[in-house]
């Protein structure tokens, strides 16, 4: 059973403690949210899982594989893909190509070389992408260039890129940042569908509390690199430390 197990993670950036002994377990098939104020280490945790940041101490295991021993480009082979908080797209490529980029590790090299000689250059590669684009409601966008598309579309393209390689766990960093209410509702629906229809475990960082509370199975609250509490949304909402940390002392009454 591939669970993501994070144990005793310590990360420092020259004096700033980003993560201070964080341990958690993300079970297969759940939507797990990380919340917390700015600088509480949510994105650092993401970067540790996807290999961009190597922690000073601690382990991250996924289905028996030690992720920390893998370079960043091998993480996707373990079945983990991610999106970014700030758009990390290729503006002068079509949406189709942007999503195909996410399938990079699944496309066979020799198959690619063989196709340089054939007439039907990419049809088989593109089937998977069209399916994902249909799933996200981006059908008929595939031939458009990404530059100049609205922010919401660009964000969805990034989600599509992380889904096309059929991962088992997807890390979504602030999907609703900069979105309006309607787009946020759409994102919530999409995240639920990713879990329900595609069977992918979702780990999400988000600031929009109503979104987090409505979709998550479990929520983890981080503050300055420490875990405040982990639990289902209702428990977290009632937890006294969370209330004092985020709403202030007097807010309970």
């Amino acid at each position: 059973m591939p669970d993501l197990q994070i144990e005793d993670l310590h990360v420092r950036f020259s004096g700033v403690v980003a993560l201070n002994g964080v341990s958690m377990e993300i079970r297969e098939g759940e939507i797990f949210s990380l919340v917390g104020p700015n600088g509480s280490g949510k994105t650092t945790l993401f970067n540790c899982v996807s290999g961009f940041v190597k922690p000073h101490h601690g382990t991250i295991c996924y289905g028996g594989l030690d992720l920390l021993s893998q370079p960043p480009h091998r993480i996707i082979d373990a079945g983990i893909s991610r999106t970014f908080q700030n758009l990390q797209n290729v503006p002068y490529m079509t949406i189709l190509d942007n999503v195909l980029l996410g399938n990079h590790s699944r496309i066979d090299n020799w198959e690619t070389v063989r196709r340089w000689l054939s007439r039907d250059q990419r049809e088989s590669e593109e089937q998977a992408v069209l399916k994902v684009l249909d799933f996200l409601g981006l059908a008929n966008y595939e031939q458009k260039y990404l530059s100049g598309q609205p922010y919401g579309i660009q964000k969805l393209v990034e989600v599509a890129r992380s889904l096309v390689s059929r991962p088992k766990l997807v890390l979504i960093d602030e999907p609703a940042a900069g979105m309006n209410d309607q787009e946020t509702m759409e994102i919530a629906k999409i995240i639920t569908e990713i879990r329900d229809d595609l069977g992918i475990t979702v780990l999400v960082v988000e600031h929009d509390m109503s979104l987090v509370m409505s979709i998550s199975d479990r929520v983890c609250v981080l503050d300055s690199g420490n875990i405040v509490t982990v639990g289902n949304p209702d428990e977290v909402k009632e937890h006294p430390d969370v209330i004092s940390a985020f709403l202030g002392e007097g807010a309970v009454a």
């Binding site: 996807s50 290999g51 961009f52 370079p71 960043p72 480009h73 091998r74 993480i75 996707i76 082979d77 893909s81 991610r82 970014f84 990390q88 797209n89 290729v90 503006p91 002068y92 490529m93 079509t94 189709l96 190509d97 195909l100 980029l101 996410g102 399938n103 990079h104 590790s105 496309i107 690619t112 196709r115 340089w116 007439r119 039907d120 250059q121 990419r122 049809e123 593109e126 069209l130 595939e142 031939q143 890129r161 992380s162 390689s165």
Partner: protein
């Protein structure tokens, strides 16, 4: 119904090949001094191969190179030495030399894993100087800075002895390189290159091995520069280190800038445009212009190239290929043209 797939429309290839074949006959029909025009076209073809390679490296992968004259020179001199002194047939040199040049590309590529932007430009520029000094130092084979006479290309017993024959040799390679380069850039390799250019993070998260693909870009680019070098050495029949200086590297950069960075057709358009300008237009207007501008006749070339690059960067950053794309939209929408679009 319009296809949903990004497969290339290949119907234009046959007319294009016919056009390439027809051009020398047309020129011979029109003008008496057709040999000179063919010579100019041959140079344009050779530089096109090199510009496509440079575009793969700098346009697609975003790794700037100011040392491509170095790869070009290594290709030219390696082939000259292999064919004329080691007795290897030209056809074999056409395969071996680009690979040797490609390994030089890998060597230069290693620093590119660490440095980027302007620092990479300086590193590759340094390589250009080193390559030139190296060739001069290896006097035993290259005759130093005196220049080297090179034999004609011989393939399957046929000797390409005139600009007319060379034209067909060179443009066979140009068409092949353009078609193959477009296909490679449309596959996962091209996508990985563009992802490295725009977001290394996204590329890595998608599973692109940055080390491998950056080195691959350098290798491919150097292979094409080496191929151009082989063709240059044997069709020009005389090579000298003076030719392969830093200005030549900058000349190549101007080609891909003017053509349109990050598109294979752009590299083709740019190199043909610049070579025609350099060999046909500027000589025609040189003396006439010197009457109005108080400048040495020899400096007019630099003046015009500088001006062209300047104007393209400001007014047409997508280059000649961008102009073509805009024109296509213009005609597609014909009576309903938003005026702003066609600028």
């Amino acid at each position: 119904m319009k296809s949903r797939y990004a497969d290339e429309n290949l119907s234009w290839i046959a007319p294009l090949v016919l056009l390439v074949i027809a051009i020398p006959f047309l020129i011979r029909g029109v003008t008496f001094s057709y040999r000179y025009y063919l010579y100019v076209l041959n140079i344009a073809g050779i530089y096109t191969i090199l510009a496509v390679g440079l575009d793969i490296l700098s346009g697609y992968t975003g790794l700037i190179s100011l040392g491509h004259a170095g790869f070009f020179a290594i290709g030219a001199y390696t082939s000259a030495v292999l064919v004329d002194q080691a007795g290897i047939p030209f056809g074999l040199s056409l395969i071996i030399t680009p690979i040797i040049t490609g390994f030089f590309g890998l060597v230069v590529g290693f620093p590119a894993l660490r440095v980027s932007g302007m620092y990479l430009g300086l590193t590759t520029m340094g390589f250009g100087f080193i390559a030139r000094r190296l060739i001069i130092a290896l006097r035993a084979w290259t005759e130093g800075s005196a220049g080297l006479e090179v034999s004609n290309p011989v393939l399957f017993g046929f000797e390409f002895a005139s600009d007319w024959a060379n034209y067909f040799l060179i443009f066979t390679f140009v068409v092949a390189v353009v078609v193959v380069a477009r296909r490679v850039m449309n596959s996962k390799i091209g996508r990985a290159f563009m992802a490295i250019r725009d977001s290394e993070r996204a590329a890595e998260a998608a599973g692109v091995n940055l080390t491998r693909y950056k080195l691959l870009a350098f290798f491919m680019s150097a292979v094409l520069a080496g191929l151009a070098g082989v063709l240059f050495a044997h069709t020009m029949r005389f090579i000298s280190t003076d030719h392969f200086d830093i200005l030549l590297s900058i000349y190549f950069i101007i080609m891909i800038l003017v053509g349109g960075v990050g598109s294979i057709y752009g590299a083709v358009l740019g190199s043909v445009f610049i070579v025609l300008l350099d060999f046909l237009l500027i000589p025609a207007f040189k003396d006439w212009m010197a009457l109005f501008v108080a400048i040495e006749v020899a400096d007019i070339q630099s003046l015009i190239f500088g001006l062209i690059m300047f104007l393209f960067i400001i007014f047409q950053p997508m280059g000649l290929y961008g102009v073509w794309l805009k024109m296509r939209i213009y005609w597609k929408l014909f009576p309903f043209n938003p005026k702003k679009r066609f600028t």
